[in-house]
């Protein structure tokens, strides 16, 4: 072959290489998400369904390893106009069966205690307290919109996940000084969340979401473990059954319905 052909070939080859390099970098860039986008994805993934009805087993594990098991049924309905509606009902053990908790907003919560046959309104301004003896706070249970309260940045990206650090926005009322999330690129469900103490800044609680499955098209962690690192107390939540988008009516989230037994 003569020299010019060789030169041309070399030129084309380098062009192809160059182009593919650009192409790769470009696509690479277009794949990478900003922290806000990741958090957005997390928020939407976790609130994708319009409503849900789930049965869970709640295990409270003491420091000494002793366990208490409760069955709960939880109804959820997205409220586009404000706070989401939730209704949590205890199914077992027998002495708390029927205790139900309806949350329409922070100021409007209702507690039904079958032992007294009465519904009591609860207005709570304390969101960082433990939810009924668990390691979840009222906030941990209710809050699924990280974007509203936190400013996030990406700490690390691996082929499988993003590691984010989220710090509370200046005026956000949150119970932590920062949180760290490990977000799966496949499901956009955080597989692990670290919560840091609001004052000391040290690690306080760790949430681990596992057995993430796609149910009715929605990614769902079937097992959630919240561990308090400080007092070594642990709450395990196992979702035994869950149905999405069942078209729950607002009637379900009424005081009248609160008294109904399952």
């Amino acid at each position: 072959m003569d020299k010019t052909v060789k030169k041309q070939k070399a030129f084309f080859l380098s062009l192809v290489l160059l182009l593919s390099f650009y192409l790769l970098t470009f696509t690479r860039l277009s794949w990478a998400l900003t922290a806000d986008e990741v958090v957005d994805k997390v928020d939407t993934t976790m609130r994708e369904a319009k409503d849900s009805v789930g049965m869970s087993k709640m295990i409270l594990v003491e420091k000494d390893g002793s366990e208490r098991v409760r069955q709960i049924k939880a109804y959820f309905k997205k409220n586009p106009k404000g706070d989401d509606f939730t209704l949590t009902r205890f199914l077992s053990p027998a002495d708390v069966k029927g205790v139900s908790f309806l949350s329409l907003s922070e100021d409007e919560m209702y507690l039904y205690m079958p032992a007294f046959g009465k519904i009591r309104r609860i207005a709570s301004h304390v969101k960082h307290e433990s939810f009924m003896g668990t390691d979840f706070s009222y906030d941990d249970i209710g809050k699924t919109k990280y974007k509203d309260d936190y400013d996030s940045k990406i700490l690390e990206e691996t082929p499988a996940e993003y590691v984010l650090e989220a710090s509370p926005k200046p005026k956000a009322e949150v119970g932590y000084s920062k949180i760290k999330l490990w977000v799966s690129k496949e499901s956009w469900i955080p597989t692990k969340v670290e919560f840091y103490h609001p004052k000391k800044g040290s690690l306080l609680k760790v949430l681990t979401n596992s057995q993430v499955e796609k149910i009715q098209g929605h990614w769902t962690p079937r097992k959630m473990v919240m561990e308090n690192v400080e007092d070594k107390h642990k709450t395990v939540l196992e979702v035994t059954e869950i149905k999405y988008d069942t078209g729950l009516s607002s009637e379900v989230f009424s005081q009248r319905n609160l008294k109904q037994s399952e």
Binding site: S66, D95, Y110, A115, K118, R121, G133, K259
Partner: protein
């Protein structure tokens, strides 16, 4: 045979002198290395007896409820309810929360507050930390509200609204002493600013106590030891005026001290409040051996030629008396081997070991060193050369005839002293309260005093409850005991999980009582779980709980009185063992019997409530005389349950209608009905079913069904029965509430005026009255029920514990331990003396000075109000051990001199006084100087211990020089001539 051995020993010491010096130094270096790593145990529970059920329970409860981790900080201000003050409290709360080893902080500015609102409750912070009120009106309302709540008033805020508590819990694996220091620093930084409104922060609770103890152990240990060394060196300087005379005895005790401290660490023990005196005691007591050896050396060795034979002679003569002296001192300290408090036991044994070391070093290292050192020709050769020696010589020359001349007066005076001391014994007091160990101006005492004055109490008296805590009848039992505790004079603020459940019941259902069903309790508890206060009061998966109270006194007697009152309750009641019956399943006769018992119990609780309230109002005496209250209350209770139902009057019917209508139009109602007339007809029908003061759902149902049919309302039977249940419940509750209101008014009418305005009293009283309507009631285990069905049997273990209970246990033990150790010491020393003199009579005479010393000690303690505590209890036995040395040295020399003078008593006495008398005096002065240093200790019992022991040394040495020769002369000393 013995002489031969001693001679061999002396030769051996001289032959291997270099090796002995080297070995001594090496052992000291090794021990010093080990001692460097000694740690301090500042935990007061270490003082509690081992393997003692009362102490074990105390320690267990302390561990379960993490009492050792709770910091209590009291802030004194000019008035809490002021923006700047609250802001400062908030700043302090924040600062503590930021400290890494802190688990949680409860303060006025972060405490959760539950308020009743219409149809429910409002949960929030008592004070919003982000929005502290500035408006004086808002602040004054906040003050009124906070002080009106029993949950806060006298608990987290003083009743005068001027002081507040901050409770901080330290993480289990954090170092309490370090964290306590960080808290003090953090708060100090805030309160030391010029604009601070906190008058003074006070630090109470275990971690701060431990921190203080840690500090004083270090200061005592590091501060008193050098002073003792200097004091003893000073005495040695005055006595011998030679370098070897000063340094050989002092090195002996220093080496022995280092060996002992090394041993303590090697055996894995720690220093504590008591053992911090080990160096001082060892230096003071142990210096005697060196003094006697050196004194003898100067007696025997005058010139270089004398050196080796003199040293051998010295060893032959001095080893046995020094050995005996050391042995008796070891006995004195060793008798604490049976003491119930571990630190007493350990300190005694370690000092005994140290004395052994001092002896060993004195009889090896000192002769070895002297053998190496050149003989100086200019030491105090003969008594009479130095001024001091002249004085001593003249004194003894004159004094030696004194016991001969005045032997009978001496004996009589001693007998009088003994009798006076004995007659003082009944006045002897005891002190077992650890808080009394600190100086009155110490931070621990000051904080204790302040919290006691501002919050009513500081030292916890507790009842530990084990069993199914959430069982309603265990809770009711806790409530009952709490109510009783509240009537005891010095007991303040009893609190338990029962109070929290009752408060939740009050907030949610309007009654301050424990529900009579497990479901009721569990429903309420679900709401409380995770609450920090609950966490302080219930542990082990709800299988263990505490009834917490504090005592408003730390006078030991008053504390013991409180414990005795509590124990009386345990004796009079079958606490924790009950059987539960369902009244509706009993035949009428049994039911009546059970009801009588139930009303008795309610009556007892109400009377106790009245007493406790009167105590809180500040005039308990007003209620004292009212023994008639109990039957009157009982009568009112009976009238409430026995009276036939008179029917409803119009206003009553009206109130019922309003209540039912309210329900039917609410969103809670099972069926949504908009027709007002129909609602009215339902209300009339439902009220019409009331019969004999009771409403029954089935009767309501049968009255309502026709109405629904007529109106053609289609609804499920379940909904109807749910609705009728709701209505029936509402009727019944309203009827009961009205009855209870009436009974409450009747009871309040019996009481002084201030009860009428006491809202808390009314709330608690109604809570008890609601129990009249309990369907399930508890009965004593032995209540005769015949064949009536028992629903369940309940067994829970209630045990009293806490500091005062521990003191109650230690109180008698202290004296037992002391007597045991004194008699053991006397007995062992007597045997030794009998062996030494080969005569029983001789043994007894040798014991006379020391017995007199012991009696005088008690005389002084009785007349000067020095209590027996865990330190002063050791004084007598130690006094015996050390004091007998003077007798041993004296008699041993006296026999020797008697032999030399061939039975010339006055010559022998003179010689003894001049030689050993001098050594005894130096010895006694040096030991006394050592002990007296302890009055500079930061620990009160150590101070007493120091001056008592110093005094005992003076008495026993004087006794040996007066009473002993007087007795020897009067008994003709047959045994001594043997």
């Amino acid at each position: 045979m013995r002489k031969f051995t001693l001679e061999k020993f002396a030769n051996w010491v001289i032959r291997f002198r270099y090796w002995i010096i080297l070995a001594t130094v090496l052992i000291t270096v090794a021990s010093g290395y080990s001692a460097r790593k000694l740690t301090i145990n500042s935990d007061l529970t270490a003082f509690l007896p081992r393997h003692d059920p009362v102490a074990e329970l105390f320690k267990e409860v302390d561990k379960t409820f993490q009492g050792a981790d709770l910091c209590v900080i009291a802030l004194e201000t000019g008035g809490i309810f002021d923006y700047a003050t609250l802001a400062e409290i908030q700043e302090i709360t924040d600062a503590i929360e930021k400290i890494p080893g802190i688990a949680s902080v409860i303060s006025l500015t972060n405490i959760i507050d539950i308020r009743k609102i219409e149809d429910g409750i409002e949960v929030g912070k008592l004070i919003d930390p982000d929005n502290i009120p500035r408006d004086p009106q808002v602040l004054s309302r906040l003050k009124e509200y906070t002080l009106s709540k029993d949950m806060y008033s006298g608990v987290i805020i003083s009743r005068d609204g001027k002081s507040t508590l901050i409770l901080a819990r330290i993480l289990v694996d954090a170092d309490e002493v370090v964290i306590a220091g960080q808290i003090e620093d953090a708060i100090g930084k805030i309160t030391s600013r010029p604009q601070s409104l906190i008058k003074k922060p006070y630090y109470a609770g275990f971690p701060f106590q431990m921190r203080y103890i840690d500090k004083i152990i270090k200061t005592d240990f590091l501060g008193l030891t050098p002073i003792t060394i200097f004091a003893v060196m000073f005495v040695l300087f005055l006595s011998f005026r030679t370098l070897r005379g000063i340094f050989l005895p002092i090195l002996t005790v220093l080496f022995a001290t280092v060996w002992t401290l090394g041993l303590i660490h090697a055996l894995g023990r720690e220093m504590n409040m008591l053992s911090s005196v080990i160096p001082v005691l060892l230096i003071a007591c142990g210096s005697a051996y060196g003094i006697h050896v050196v004194n003898r050396y100067y007696n025997e060795v005058k010139t270089s030629e004398d050196k080796i034979p003199g040293l051998i002679q010295m060893a032959k003569q001095i080893t046995v008396p020094v050995f005996l002296a050391a042995l008796t001192t070891q006995i004195g300290f060793g008798t604490f081997v049976y003491a119930s408090m571990p630190p007493v036991q350990e300190t005694g044994l370690f000092i005994a070991a140290g004395i052994g070391f001092a002896f060993l070093i004195a009889v090896t290292f000192i002769p070895a060193s002297l053998a190496v050192l050149k003989v100086r020709t200019a030491p105090v050769k003969k008594p009479g050369e130095s001024r001091m020696a002249t004085l001593v010589y003249n004194f003894f020359a004159r004094f030696s005839s004194f016991p001969v001349k005045y032997r009978w007066p001496i004996i009589v005076i001693c007998i009088i002293i003994a009798l006076v001391s004995i007659s003082g014994l009944p006045r002897l007091t005891r002190e077992v309260n650890f808080v009394e160990y600190f100086k009155p101006d110490s931070p621990v005492r000051v904080a204790e005093n302040f919290t006691r004055e501002a919050f009513g109490g500081s030292q916890p008296l507790l009842v530990d409850v084990r069993g199914d805590i959430l069982n309603p009848f265990v809770l009711k039992e806790m409530r009952r005991m709490s109510q009783y505790l509240d009537t005891i004079t010095y007991v303040c603020n009893p609190q338990s999980v029962a109070d929290l459940i009752m408060e939740a019941n009050y907030q949610l259902n309007g009654r301050y009582s424990i529900p009579d069903t497990a479901e009721g309790v569990s429903n309420l508890f679900l709401f409380l779980e995770g609450n920090e206060f609950v966490d302080l009061l219930v542990k082990r998966g709800n299988q263990e709980a505490l009834i917490q109270t504090t005592l408003s006194t730390y006078n030991t007697k008053q504390q013991l009185f409180s414990v005795a009152e509590l124990q009386k309750y345990f004796k009079d009641h079958t606490v924790g063992k009950t059987k539960v019956v369902d009244l509706e399943r009993l035949d009428p006769a049994t039911r009546e019997k059970v009801m009588v018992n139930q009303l008795d119990m309610i009556g007892e609780n109400i009377v106790n409530l009245v007493k406790a309230t009167a105590k809180k109002q500040g005039n308990p005496e007003k209620m004292e005389g009212s023994s008639s209250l109990s039957p009157k209350v009982r009568e009112i209770l009976a009238s409430g349950t026995n009276q036939p139902f008179a029917g409803l009057d119009q206003p009553q019917k009206e109130r019922l209608s309003v209540s039912l209508r309210e329900y039917l139009v609410s969103p809670q109602s099972e069926i949504e009905i908009k027709d007002g007339k129909f609602i009215d007809s339902m209300v009339v029908a439902a009220i019409g079913t009331i019969s004999n003061g009771a409403s029954d759902p089935s009767r309501v149902e049968s009255a309502l069904i026709p109405l629904f049919k007529a109106k053609k309302i289609k609804t499920s039977p379940e909904t109807i029965s749910s609705l009728t249940r709701s209505l029936s419940n509402r009727i019944q509750e309203k009827l009961n509430a009205e009855e209870i209101d009436l009974l409450g008014q009747q009871i309040i009418a019996l009481l002084p005026a201030q009860f009428k305005t006491d809202h808390n009293f009314a709330k608690y009283l109604q809570g008890y009255l609601w129990e009249i309507h309990d369907r399930r009631v508890a009965l004593p285990e032995k209540f005769p029920l015949g064949s009536a069905p028992v629903e369940s049997e309940i067994s829970a273990l209630f045990q009293e514990t806490g500091g005062p209970v521990m003191f109650n246990k230690l109180y008698p033990e202290l004296v037992n331990n002391m007597m045991q150790s004194i008699f053991l010491a006397l007995f062992l020393v007597l045997i030794l003396m009998i062996i030494q003199f080969k005569s029983f009579q001789g043994g007894l005479i040798a014991m006379a000075p020391i017995s007199l010393t012991v009696l005088t000690n008690f005389g002084i303690m009785s007349y000067f109000g020095v209590p027996v505590d865990d330190t002063t209890m050791m004084v007598s036995s130690i006094g015996i051990g050390i004091g007998i040395d003077y007798t041993i040295h004296f008699t041993s020399r006296f026999r020797e001199e008697l032999e030399k003078t061939q039975g010339n008593i006055s010559r022998a006495l003179e010689q003894t006084f001049e030689t050993t008398g001098r050594a005894i005096l130096i010895n006694a002065i040096s030991v006394t100087m050592g002990f007296i240093v302890l009055v500079f200790s930061s620990i009160v019992p150590t101070q007493r211990f120091g001056w008592l022991l110093a005094l005992l040394m003076v008495i026993s040495s004087v006794g040996s020089l007066t009473l002993l020769p007087a007795l020897l002369l009067s008994t003709k000393m047959k045994f001594i001539k043997k």
